[in-house]
């Protein structure tokens, strides 16, 4: 059984839940959103109109985190079968990903790299995917790419498929578990529109991870970290991958033109009562009974 080269992509995003309500309702006051002259086409909305997330901590995308831990478990399983694998990890963006890359080195990933860019890629999934595909193919030369189903800034769900298409590989999405078979194929469990299923896939392929039960990355000890202290993640530029990022961004087929805050407020009528029973009864008498009859 030859060694499998597995690459996992991950991203870090601002912790949106740490922002206050007021910051979301003032977003969308960009040049093109309401009140301005012109049809807004020439001044598209963009990152500047998003709430300021500079000061908010970064968190690992939750599906990407599953992908990282599943990659480690796949390695454990391969070793258990008498095989082996080399794990690599890559992220795209600025230095936010570095603490995680160092953690992954401490956990036994052989390769850890980030493709450096200061550009905001939230609404540029094509560019993100091109960078991931280029790294996978030209630098890492991996057999298997694992990433979260909503990978990439913006999380629109297209990045795994875009990468697969660039690479000419099939893609399994909403995967929740993966096991190696003795012949080098993979047995993948996935959630489909029709329930939980299993398929056998040959590499090379892309595995996009969905709502896996495994959702937390294991934690390296201080000793593990000490062992890789001398190693730094590789830092590459898009040009190193043969990618002209500004050209790609210029060719992006989607343009964000405006952002609107979302008003979900409803009547919010407080149902009175001193006890759970009293409140339940009040709700039933005033509204629930008739609503249930209508159903």
């Amino acid at each position: 059984m030859s060694a499998m080269r597995i690459l996992a992509y991950f991203g870090v995003t601002p912790d949106y839940e740490a922002l206050r309500e007021s910051e979301w309702s003032t977003a969308g006051r960009g040049p093109s959103s309401g009140g301005g002259e012109g049809d807004g086409r020439d001044e598209g909305a963009g990152p500047a109109d998003l709430p300021d997330t500079r000061y908010v901590r970064r968190i690992l995308d939750c599906f990407d985190e599953s992908a990282l831990e599943l990659a480690l478990r796949l390695l454990d399983a391969l070793v258990g079968l008498g095989g082996t694998a080399g794990l690599g990890a890559v992220s795209v963006g600025a230095a936010d990903a570095e603490p995680h890359l160092k953690t992954l080195l401490a956990l036994g990933f052989e390769r850890a790299a980030r493709v450096h860019t200061e550009a905001v890629l939230d609404f540029a999934p094509a560019a993100t995917a091109a960078l991931i595909a280029a790294y996978t193919q030209r630098i890492d030369r991996s057999d298997l790419l694992m990433l979260g189903a909503r990978s990439g800034p913006g999380g629109d769900g297209t990045v795994p498929f875009r990468v697969a298409d660039h690479l000419g590989w099939p893609c399994i999405t909403q995967a929740t578990e993966v096991e190696p078979l003795a012949d080098g194929r993979l047995r993948v469990t996935l959630m489909t529109d029709d329930g939980l299923q299993r398929l056998t896939a040959r590499t090379p392929c892309v595995l996009a991870i969905g709502n896996a039960v495994v959702s937390h990355l294991r934690v390296p000890t201080l000793t593990d970290r000490l062992a890789v202290r001398g190693r730094q993640p590789d830092i590459l530029e898009p040009a190193d991958l043969g990618v002209d990022l500004s050209e790609l961004l210029g060719r992006e087929t989607q343009t964000l033109t405006a952002l609107e805050s979302v008003d979900r407020r409803r009547e919010s009528i407080l149902v009175p009562g001193d006890t759970p029973r009293a409140k339940a009864q009040a709700l039933f008498d005033s509204r629930l009974k008739s609503l249930l009859e209508e159903l």
Partner: protein
């Protein structure tokens, strides 16, 4: 401008599963065509299938009069996208519409990649102008609504999972324009040995008319189970928020929200969930939302029609008892 609605009617592996899935896809596309697309344009439905015996049933489900059939292999998304790309090049359609779900997203994306067109997923509304398509979709985990424009054709749109249609589709006299065989002899699909593990269980969430959702305020797995039992007693479908599913207090297929199901019940009781946007997106189309929570400052208290400030498990159980008593009295 011409559109093509795409249905993936290839076999899902379970009996009746294919028809159910396609029915849902079709209902979503039909609803979007009627309500979400601001364009009176001619169009057709393109149906991929792999089982001859399903053909007639699939034709019945198409949301447009004109239907094209394409025989292919299950999960052969790269081939399907290549076929669609040829259609696009040939000018058959400027706008391709795909149903919500992983298959629709994959096809929309691969088609855009191959044809140089633009793709947007989870599209809530779309307006077509001669040279561009303007769409709206949620961004930032449901905190904001973004307006996007696609210029390059073909426009590949995956529609938002909120476009469901619980009603019966109107009867249409379908016309089959073509039936092409796009299979390649001896070349199987990219995946082997499909095995169905569990009968579809999320299927009950999207079309549900009465839904009870449990959040982390249920306090424990036992609390969640009690809410689930009370929901069953009341005849409601049961769902959970992400923290509850991720904590294994309920199974993952009950998950509601951006990473789970999108629902549109007439009545929704949210018990013990604070109502963060990523979850709320999953219930925002509900007719009436009742929130039960101890925290009067939680977003759900402001975003619900009726609010009960009390313990989630206790209130839902009392409600179930009252509903049961009422049923018996009748």
């Amino acid at each position: 401008m011409r559109f093509a609605a795409v249905l993936d009617g290839t076999s899902t592996g379970s009996t009746d599963g294919t028809a159910t899935v396609v029915h849902r896809q079709s209902a979503a596309l039909g609803a979007f065509l009627r309500g979400g697309l601001d364009a009176r344009a001619p169009g057709e439905t393109l149906v991929f299938y792999d089982d001859e015996r399903e053909k007639d049933r699939l034709i019945e489900l198409a949301p447009t009069r004109d239907v094209r059939l394409v025989r292919t292999s299950a999960r052969a998304f790269e081939r399907m996208a290549a076929h669609l790309s040829t259609q696009a090049e040939g000018g058959q359609a400027d706008l391709f519409l795909f149903a919500p779900g992983p298959a629709g997203t994959e096809l929309a994306t691969r088609l855009a990649c191959r044809s140089g067109g633009g793709v947007l997923t989870d599209v809530v509304t779309a307006e077509a102008a001669p040279d561009r398509l303007s769409c709206r979709r949620y961004v930032c985990s449901g905190h904001l609504m973004g307006r996007f424009e696609l210029s390059a054709r073909p426009w590949c749109i995956g529609i938002d999972a909120g476009w469901t249609d619980a009603g019966e589709p109107e009867a249409i006299e379908h016309v089959v324009l073509s039936d092409t065989d796009d299979t390649v002899a001896g070349r199987p699909g990219p995946f082997e040995d499909p095995e169905v593990l569990e009968a579809p269980s999320t299927g009950d969430l999207a079309p549900s008319r009465f839904l009870v959702v449990a959040g982390s305020g249920a306090g424990s797995r036992a609390g969640v189970e009690r809410i689930a039992a009370a929901a069953r007693e009341m005849g409601a479908t049961f769902g959970v928020t992400r923290p509850v599913a991720m904590n294994a207090w309920a199974s993952m297929d009950r998950l509601i929200g951006v990473s789970g199901a999108r629902t549109a019940p007439s009545l929704c009781i949210v018990a013990g969930a604070s109502g963060a946007p990523a979850f709320y997106w999953g219930i925002e189309k509900a007719g009436v939302i009742v929130a039960v929570d101890l925290d009067e400052h939680a977003p759900i208290a402001r975003d619900a029609d009726l609010v009960l400030l009390d313990d989630a498990v206790a209130v839902v159980e009392e409600l179930a008892a009252i509903v049961a008593a009422e049923r018996e009295a009748r």
